[in-house]
Subunit: 152 residues, 2 copies
């Protein structure tokens, strides 16, 4: 099954090139398309966190490796498949990140802890509800702890 998605807005920040770490330095404005009514954001400021669904647009021309490989080509980490990692070059090139909502202004929202570079097309914005957080204890492999060490 195929489906065509359309950007509903764009990320604006100071990160112009693709890099892996230190995202906290780059707060973002997400400005929705001009043809969307501002009311589509009404009520969003009642939430502390929002989930941003976006396209890894700089990776669109790459061909994702979907079989098992070392994350970030680091041979000290185990070979894992594409669905055991969150890398950009993946089928459908969709990213999802829970960001902290700073404020809303008209047709824009301002967020931090969003790991998307300037110009990133946004596909959706969802409020984060407590009842959608992981249920029960969270478990992840040691290499995931390591890869996230300097991420934010």
């Amino acid at each position: 099954m195929q489906f065509t998605v359309n950007a509903i807005g764009t990320v604006h920040n100071e990160r112009r090139t693709v890099e892996d770490d230190h995202w906290l330095k780059y707060p973002s404005e997400i400005r929705l398309n001009d043809d969307l009514p501002a009311e589509c954001l009404d009520g969003i400021d009642a939430y502390s966190h929002i989930e941003i669904v976006y396209l890894f647009h700089k990776a669109l021309r790459t061909r994702p490796v979907i079989g098992a490989e070392h994350p970030r080509e680091n041979p000290s980490w185990p070979k894992v498949g594409i669905y055991a990692q969150r890398k950009k070059a993946r089928p459908n090139f969709i990213g999802c990140t829970i960001a902290t909502l700073l404020r809303r202004e008209g047709i824009s929202i301002f967020v931090e802890r969003l790991d998307a570079i300037n110009g990133t097309p946004v596909l959706d914005i969802k409020p984060v509800l407590r009842e959608f957080l992981p249920y029960g204890a969270l478990r992840q492999p040691p290499w995931a702890d390591e890869i996230m060490r300097n991420y934010w």
Copy 2:
């Protein structure tokens, strides 16, 4: 900006019709497409939770209301815009849910707490990392607590 996405797999469970609540009764198998190598799931069992990105395929023919309206048409809840709620009929029709991973078998994973009906096309699977959970205290409006009361 437009982009065409392709299903990478399908949800299989016993929920055949669109309903809002009681999702815990319906554990799911997500079976990836036959043309994907099983190694794309290698390493996934090191995680307790995974995020499923999917299409609200039964809503595709509707025209989303994006301006402010009462969630579930309940007048006792405030009018909010589409980006202050998680309803299905939304631009791009993308759903994202953090599910509990039960096990992997070959080219399938078995999950619970996934709110997607039988036949739902899956666009992506991402491992849930602790460092991607909401940072700081979570805040949501009272109507969101109410709408989630019988959800799981």
